[in-house]
């Protein structure tokens, strides 16, 4: 297959043209409010797994995300090439959301959250007051440990954090996390990095109903499992307030094009939700008038 035939080869020019046609439509939506933070974009993207920092930088820009997630790790003390992710992130433009990825106990997550807060305080980034809480159950599934997540949420809320909670799509757990003071509950569509999309839309519907019943503006973000653009749209069409994803872009054959796709899908799904879809019906309804047909058919 020649480069011209390969659908995964897209020139930069065509991507830019695609963007111009849609940016004027942002007036249709209200901002996303997460605790004390407000954003025009409803897409939150991760910074992991990119082949290069330069590619990450381009994809972050293309996604038009305003919030980006990062992880907290030990400083490399030997063999450092001297390049730090912070050299590729515009701290004036992005609100950093530090995660507690890799933590398997509540105390570990609280410790890592505090370290993240210290780093962001020193950087004078607005993300110093919040955390994406992940407390995982095991390494094979990377599914959240709901008991430890609830425990860590309580500790972090007491310590003044705005806690964005990664959790399963279980509505009861979601409600408990909200009751514990989570700023946002972020159910997984499917396991982290699995690309399986939204596995249980019915559970998410119940999550949305429970979390928003006394508080329509309570933000619910789909976090994890998104594989492609339609998964993002599906989440937004259900009424989720935003989507958080990383591998779906970073792992795509042409990450930069996928960054555009995810941005557009998030907007498309949101608009569709706001517009209100037609009900699904078993039988057809003609769009063209039934009267005046040139060759009339009888009922059969």
């Amino acid at each position: 297959m020649s480069a011209a035939d390969d659908p995964h080869t897209t020139s930069k020019n065509s991507v830019i043209e695609m963007t111009k046609t849609v940016t004027t439509e942002t007036v249709l939506d209200t901002p996303l409010t997460l605790g004390s933070h407000t954003f025009a974009s409803r897409l939150i993207v991760g910074t992991g797994k990119y082949a290069t920092f330069e590619l990450m930088q381009e994809c972050l820009a293309a996604s038009e995300a305003e919030v980006i997630t990062v992880a907290v790790r030990r400083e490399r003390l030997v063999d450092s090439d001297g390049r730090n992710i912070l050299d590729f992130i515009d701290l004036e433009r992005f609100t950093i959301l530090p995660n507690t990825a890799g933590c398997f106990a509540a105390d570990e997550a609280v410790r890592v959250a505090r370290l993240g807060r210290e780093i962001l305080t020193n950087l004078e980034n607005p993300g110093a007051d919040w955390v994406k809480l992940e407390v995982l159950g095991d390494t094979r599934t990377l599914l959240p440990d709901p008991v430890a997540t609830l425990d860590a949420t309580k500790q972090l809320v007491a310590d003044g954090f705005q806690v964005l909670c990664y959790t399963t799509d279980d509505p009861i757990t979601a409600k408990r996390l909200k009751d514990a003071g989570a700023t946002s509950v972020m159910p997984a569509g499917s396991p982290i990095g699995s690309g399986q999309g939204i596995l249980n839309p019915n559970n998410l519907r119940i999550c949305l109903e429970y979390l928003k019943e006394d508080d329509a503006d309570y933000p619910v973000i789909i976090d994890a499992g998104v594989g492609t653009a339609s998964d993002v749209s599906a989440a937004m069409e259900l009424g989720c307030d935003g989507v958080l994803l990383n591998t779906g872009i970073a792992g795509a054959k042409v990450a930069l094009t996928m960054a555009h796709a995810m941005k557009l899908a998030c907007r498309a799904g949101r608009y569709a939700y706001l517009a209100g879809r037609i009900p699904k019906k078993l039988y057809a309804t003609a769009s063209s008038p039934e009267r005046g047909v040139v060759t009339p058919r009888g009922p059969n």
């Binding site: 992991g48 990062v70 790790r73 950093i96 505090r114 370290l115 020193n122």
Partner: protein
């Protein structure tokens, strides 16, 4: 004296401060946090914070993540 730095036993001179250690290791202070025996050391205290034998020290930074 010896401290445990990011999980590794490390020899450091007696009387060394957090600032001295960061200088020795050529670690810039932008984008890091320092934790000494599970307590965070605020950046303003790096120079005054002296290390003791057996201290557990963590120096962390931000990396790409989801």
């Amino acid at each position: 004296m010896k401290v445990i730095l990011n999980g590794e036993e490390t020899e450091v001179p007696v009387g060394q401060s957090v600032s001295d250690l960061l200088d020795t290791l050529s670690i810039r202070t932008k984008g890091i946090a320092v934790e000494l025996n599970l307590e965070i050391v605020p950046r303003a205290e790096y120079a005054a914070c002296l290390l003791s034998d057996g201290d557990h020290l963590e120096i962390v930074t931000l990396v790409g993540g989801g």
